[in-house]
Symmetry: C2
Subunit: 344 residues, 2 copies
Amino acid sequence: MATVKNRRILLGRRPTGEPSEADFALSEIELEDPQPGQMLLRTLWLSLDPYMRGRMSDRKSYAPSVQIGDVMVGGTVTEVVASKLEGFIQGDIVEGRTGWQEYALSDGAGMRKVDPALGPISTALGVLGMPGMTAYFGLFNIGQPKPGETVVVSAAAGAVGAVVGQLAKIRGCRVVGIAGAPEKCAYVVNELGFDECVSHREPDLAEQMEKACPKGIDVYFENVGGRVFQAVLPWLNDFARVPVCGLIAHYNDIELPAGPNQVPLLMRAILSHRLTVRGFIRGDFLDQQASFFEDMSRWIREKRIKYREDIVEGLENAPGAFLKLFRGENFGKLLVKVATAVKA
Amino acid sequence: MATVKNRRILLGRRPTGEPSEADFALSEIELEDPQPGQMLLRTLWLSLDPYMRGRMSDRKSYAPSVQIGDVMVGGTVTEVVASKLEGFIQGDIVEGRTGWQEYALSDGAGMRKVDPALGPISTALGVLGMPGMTAYFGLFNIGQPKPGETVVVSAAAGAVGAVVGQLAKIRGCRVVGIAGAPEKCAYVVNELGFDECVSHREPDLAEQMEKACPKGIDVYFENVGGRVFQAVLPWLNDFARVPVCGLIAHYNDIELPAGPNQVPLLMRAILSHRLTVRGFIRGDFLDQQASFFEDMSRWIREKRIKYREDIVEGLENAPGAFLKLFRGENFGKLLVKVATAVKA
């Protein structure tokens, strides 16, 4: 087999504040044939997620930063083009973290075969992938919602939030979403079955939350931070749980917001209401993957879990699409369609 | 039996900021004989605790405020003077919440007989009472320290902190205290067996914490808030646990501290280190009281748990003594000796 030309998107420089397309660089290299113990993968779908903003900065976090000049990290669904690796054959569909590029060589580490019978393969990056697991692990392990309780989720129309709300409905909860655009609010109520949705653009967000949650809030699934969290805090019930999996409102912060310092207010709420605030990432619960796939694929078949994808065509459009996440301009799981499967 | 004169300390007015003696009022009334189903109790020991500051304000919390003109709430050890209540006889020693007064009538609700064989009866307000339970329940249920982990506790020489540190030593942890005065630091290291103690008066507190915790911090038992918490936060390890049972640094706040707003910093730490921050009070774990009494009384007998009492004589001195808590001037469990048991 001849070498393939591999277009890649690199981190060109570290952004200050909101990233721009100029922070990325397109580059093309040739990829050699796979060596024994390797396979060559062709990217079909690239996932764009808020956490990537953290990898672009050199701030210490739960995962290492992308180095300048390196391929941007990212979850992908790929197709095996050629394999000298046991257990993988040409045509296999594989999910992993091969990044923002059209091809990748892999020794199989961290790669998982996708079963196309469970659903469209792109869902391996959405409801049946990292965002779905984040919702499922965080809600059930930390949120622990009980029937009749009120669950609030921010970024409600997003890849994680939409699943959180539907899972909470399956558990018999009252579910209130928080989203930006009116069409997103309409979607989570009318399509996904949330009980209510409040727009975070409302100037009196805290009062809207109080109205939407007449019995207070038992679980607040935190995706956002900022003034959304502030508006939710006063209505948290005793023993409420706050799983924290994202803080997109702050990822582009270049400095802390102006005062006063609200930490004492937050800590007092934690103490007087006996709150549990707990951060997590998907990787903390990997031992629960089997039950995730079993439950979620069944609920998808039963149409109890619905999903929406926001698809952009072509790797070169990934940077521009990525920026939409921070303006709330995506509507559903943001994906880049990089190529079509040969088999398809 | 004749009526008894009962001296009481009432909440005279709601303090703004730091309380003063003028916020309290001494009053004397006559108490009738106990009616059928009641007993007359004579206060021997009154406990003074930081949480009482919260009860003096009308801010919503986990327990109702004291009304102006009402007797200040407080835990006491009392002696039964006369009883028309089944199960209690004259001379019994009883622990409960009869407040800042020399006598009380009680129908037995919330009262617990104290077994003088377990230790001096005053310990029913300290190591064998609310502060001891707070330490034991919070550390073991929320802190969940494992052998070899590093446990940091603020207000280390206080009624709760001193027990937390000793319990963590029993569990095989490295224990670092934070206290104010040098003699308190010396006490927790030399008498209580903490590995190290850092004074929160050090200007470079965060660096001192880093030095004292070379392997980071796995459990931070939060009694204090404010700049102590800020100094601890950077050194919390992945999956660290933060039981929050008190925030004495903030109880007298009349407004939030100046900016910047550090909430995003705290939330980012919670997310990236997958922290668990959880508020609690003793009453949340009352089903574990039996194991508490069993473990603690044994450890006290074995001298593995030591304690220190800071005793003030006379009910009339309670207000002045109470104020010492907020200046860190007490050294050990703060108690008012109101009377001596007739039996003693």
